[in-house]
C-alpha cells in the first residue's frame, strides 16, 4: 500500500502482531499471571455462582416435580386458647368425600417411648416420638424405604415398627438384619423397615411408625388423628385448601390448619435467587478490581518498556502499531485470566455439585458472558496504557535519562 508520496506504508503481519503483543507476557510471566489473577477470581466466582445456583435450583425443581405440589397437610390448630387440639374423629372420612381428593393418610401421636433395649434407663427417651399411621402414608408422601419395607395391612396389626431416618440413627440401628427389635411402650416391636428422609413430612423422620391397629391393640392409642396428609388433584389444590377447614371441623373451622409443605421448598428456591444476585454483584466487583489491576500493571509496563517502544518506533512502527501491541497484551492478559476463571468456576461448580449430588448445570451465558466480560474489561483496562505508549514520541522513548 502506498500513499500520495509514493511511500510504502509500515506493515505488521497478523502473526507478528500477536508475537509483539506477547513479548511482555513471555518475558514477565510471574507478573502476567498475578495481574490476570483478579480477572480469574472474578470470572470464576461469576461462573460458579451461576452454575451453582442453576444446579441447585434445577435440583429443587426436580425435587418439587417428584414430590408434587399437590400434597396438603391438615393439623389441629395450636393457637392460644385452643388447648391440645385434636382433629375430630370423623376428619379423615369427611376429607375423603371431597371430590378432588385422591388420597388421605392419617397420623396420630402415641404416648410411648422407644429404646434400643429394655435396659436403657427410661429417662433417656432420645427424643423419638411414636406415630400411629395408615398404611398408605408412604405412598401419599411419595416417600421411599431405605431398608426393609413399609407397613402393610398384615404387619400394621402386629407389633412391628418402621423407623424414620433420624429415629433409626438415634437408636443406632442401621440395618434390619437379624430380627432387629426395639423396646417400645413396655413391649418388643420388630423393626421391619427404615425410611429415607421424608422431604414433605420432616417430623416423621424422628418417629417410630406403627400401624394404627397395632397402636390401638398394644399401646392404648385412641385412634384420633393429629394430622392428615391429603393428596388432591393437581388442578384443584387451591379449591381443596379452601374447603378443608370446614370439612374437617364444621363447628370450628378456624381451629384447623392447612398447609402445603412444598411452599417451603419454593421459598428456598426464591431465597437462593436472591443470594445469587448478591454473589453476582460481588463477582462483578472482583472483575472491576481485576480490570484496575491489569490497567495498573500495563501502565507500569509502558513506563518500564519505554526503550522498547522507542526501538520499535525507530524500526518503523507507527503509533497505531504500538497502541495495538499494548492493547492486545491487555486483552490477552484478561482473556487468559478469563479462561482460567471459567475453568476454576466450572471446577468449583462440578466439585460442589458432586458433593451435594446435584446434576452439574452451567448455563452457557455464564462462560460466554464471563469471557466476553473479560475481553471488555481487558479492552477498557488496556486502552489508557496503549494510548500512553502510542503518544510517547520516539526521542522521548529512547531517552536514557
Amino acid at each position: 500500500m502506498t500513499d500520495r508520496n509514493g511511500i510504502v506504508r509500515s506493515r505488521l503481519h497478523a502473526g507478528d502482531v500477536l508475537r509483539t503483543a506477547t513479548v511482555g507476557l513471555r518475558t514477565r510471566k510471574m507478573r502476567a499471571a498475578l495481574s490476570a489473577l483478579g480477572i480469574t477470581i472474578g470470572i470464576a466466582s461469576l461462573v460458579a455462582v451461576l452454575g451453582l445456583s442453576d444446579s441447585s435450583r434445577s435440583d429443587l425443581l426436580t425435587q418439587l416435580d417428584r414430590l408434587g405440589t399437590n400434597l396438603l397437610v391438615v393439623q389441629a390448630g395450636t393457637g392460644i386458647g385452643l388447648g391440645n387440639a385434636e382433629l375430630p374423629d370423623t376428619a379423615a372420612v369427611m376429607v375423603e368425600r371431597i371430590g378432588p381428593v385422591e388420597d388421605v393418610a392419617a397420623v396420630g401421636s402415641v404416648d410411648a417411648n422407644v429404646y434400643r433395649s429394655d435396659l436403657v434407663p427410661s429417662t433417656r427417651s432420645g427424643g423419638i416420638s411414636v406415630s400411629a399411621v395408615d398404611t398408605n402414608l408412604l405412598d401419599t408422601l411419595e416417600g421411599t424405604v431405605a431398608e426393609g419395607r413399609f407397613l402393610d395391612e398384615a404387619s400394621a396389626a402386629y407389633p412391628t415398627v418402621v423407623l424414620g431416618s433420624i429415629a433409626a440413627e438415634r437408636l443406632g440401628i442401621a440395618t434390619i438384619a437379624d430380627g432387629q427389635l426395639v423396646w417400645l411402650g413396655d413391649q418388643w416391636f420388630a423393626v421391619i423397615g427404615i425410611l429415607d428422609p421424608l422431604e414433605l413430612a420432616g417430623s416423621l423422620d424422628r418417629s417410630a411408625i406403627v400401624g394404627a391397629g397395632a397402636a390401638e391393640d398394644y399401646l392404648g392409642f385412641d385412634g384420633v388423628a393429629s394430622s392428615l396428609y391429603v393428596r388432591t388433584h393437581p388442578d384443584w389444590v387451591d379449591g381443596v385448601m379452601g374447603v378443608l377447614p370446614a370439612t374437617v371441623n364444621p363447628e370450628n373451622p378456624d381451629q384447623v390448619e392447612v398447609s402445603r409443605p412444598t411452599d417451603a421448598l419454593e421459598a428456598r428456591a426464591a431465597a437462593e435467587s436472591a443470594f445469587t444476585a448478591l454473589f453476582l454483584g460481588l463477582g462483578v466487583v472482583a472483575l472491576i478490581v481485576g480490570g484496575v489491576g491489569i490497567a495498573n500493571v500495563m501502565v507500569i509496563s509502558v513506563l518500564e518498556r519505554r526503550s522498547e517502544i522507542g526501538l520499535r518506533r525507530a524500526l518503523g512502527a507507527t503509533r497505531r502499531h504500538v497502541a495495538l501491541q499494548f492493547l492486545l497484551e491487555a486483552l490477552m492478559l484478561a482473556l487468559a485470566g478469563g479462561l482460567g476463571g471459567v475453568l476454576l468456576g466450572v471446577g468449583v461448580t462440578a466439585g460442589y455439585s458432586a458433593l451435594r449430588g446435584w446434576d452439574v448445570l452451567i448455563p452457557t451465558v455464564a462462560w460466554t458472558g464471563g469471557l466476553a466480560a473479560a475481553l471488555v474489561i481487558g479492552a477498557v483496562a488496556g486502552l489508557y496504557p496503549a494510548m500512553r505508549a502510542a503518544r510517547l514520541s520516539p526521542t522521548e522513548a529512547l531517552r536514557t535519562t
Binding site: 511511500i7 509500515s10 503481519h13 518475558t27 522507542g310 525507530a314 526521542t395
Partner: protein, 234 residues
C-alpha cells in the same frame, strides 16, 4: 565523475527544546551525506550530536530548516509516513544496544524488517545470513541476554543493516564497550561501508572519528568543521 546522490540533506536545521530559557540544541546545520559515505560526527557531550541523529533519522522534526532523507522532504510527511521511511530506508544503532532480551539473536536481527511487511520466514533467512556476515553465525539461537557487550552490539548492527537501508545512523555505538570490542565494532562498520553501506557514526571520541574517511565536528549546535568541505566540493 558525478558525485553520488545525496541520501541525507540538512539545510539550516535548528532544534529548540522548550524550557526557560529554551535549549537551542542545533543552531543552523547544513550537512549533506552522499551514498556510500562513512562519516564520523564528533563533538563534546551536549554539543547536539544525539539531537542531530534524531533529526537525521526522522525520529524528531527540526524547529526550522529542511531535512531530506532518501529523497523525501520530511516536512511534507505525516508521522505515519515517517515511520514507513524509517522502516525501509534508515537503520539505527544505539549505545544501549536496545535489544529485546529473552529473544534469540536471530529474532532480534529479524525484527530489523519487522514493520516492512516482509514475511517472517524471509526475515529470518536474511537475518541468519546477516548474523553470519557480522561474525555471529555460532550465536544465532542464543538469547541476546547471554551475549557479551561486543556481541550484543554486533547483533544490533546486523539488525540495522538487515534490509540494506539507504543510511545507517549509529549513536555512540562503542560507548558501552571495552577498547577491544570497540575496535572490533569500528572495523565491522568500516567493512560494511566497504560493501556499500552508507554510515553516520556519532562519537565523542576523536580517535575513533579520525579513522573515518570524513569527519564532521560539532560544537554548541553548529558544525565547527567538516573534512569534506575542506577538500572536494559538494
Amino acid at each position: 565523475m558525478t558525485a553520488p546522490e545525496a541520501v541525507l540533506d540538512l539545510r539550516g536545521v535548528t532544534k529548540e527544546y522548550p524550557g526557560t530559557p529554551p535549549v537551542r540544541a542545533l543552531r543552523g546545520i547544513d550537512l549533506t551525506i552522499r551514498s556510500g559515505e562513512l562519516v564520523g560526527v564528533v563533538g563534546p557531550s551536549g554539543s547536539g550530536k544525539s539531537t542531530l541523529l534524531h533529526v537525521m533519522g526522522t525520529l524528531d522534526r527540526p524547529t526550522a530548516g529542511d531535512v531530506h532523507v532518501a529523497g523525501y522532504d520530511i516536512s511534507r510527511l505525516s508521522d505515519r509516513d515517517l515511520s514507513a521511511v524509517r522502516a525501509r530506508n534508515i537503520g539505527f544503532v544505539f549505545q544501549q544496544f536496545h535489544l529485546l532480551d529473552g529473544y534469540t539473536a536471530l529474532d532480534n536481527v529479524a525484527d530489523g524488517l519487522l514493520y516492512t511487511g516482509m514475511s517472517a520466514a524471509d526475515r529470518r533467512d536474511l537475518a541468519a545470513d546477516t548474523l553470519g556476515r557480522v561474525g555471529l553465525a555460532h550465536r544465532v539461537t542464543h538469547a541476546t541476554s547471554k551475549l557479551s557487550g561486543g556481541e550484543r552490539q554486533r547483533v544490533a548492527v546486523a539488525r540495522a543493516v538487515l534490509g540494506r537501508p539507504a543510511i545507517v545512523l549509529a549513536d555512540e555505538p562503542t560507548g558501552n564497550l571495552d577498547s577491544t570490542s570497540s575496535d572490533a565494532i569500528v572495523e565491522l562498520l568500516e567493512e560494511l561501508n566497504a560493501e556499500g553501506i552508507t554510515l553516520v557514526v556519532i562519537t565523542h571520541n576523536p580517535e575513533i572519528a579520525a579513522r573515518f574517511p570524513r569527519q564532521v565536528s560539532l560544537l554548541d549546535g553548529l558544525v565547527e568543521s567538516d573534512s569534506a568541505a575542506a577538500g572536494v566540493g559538494r
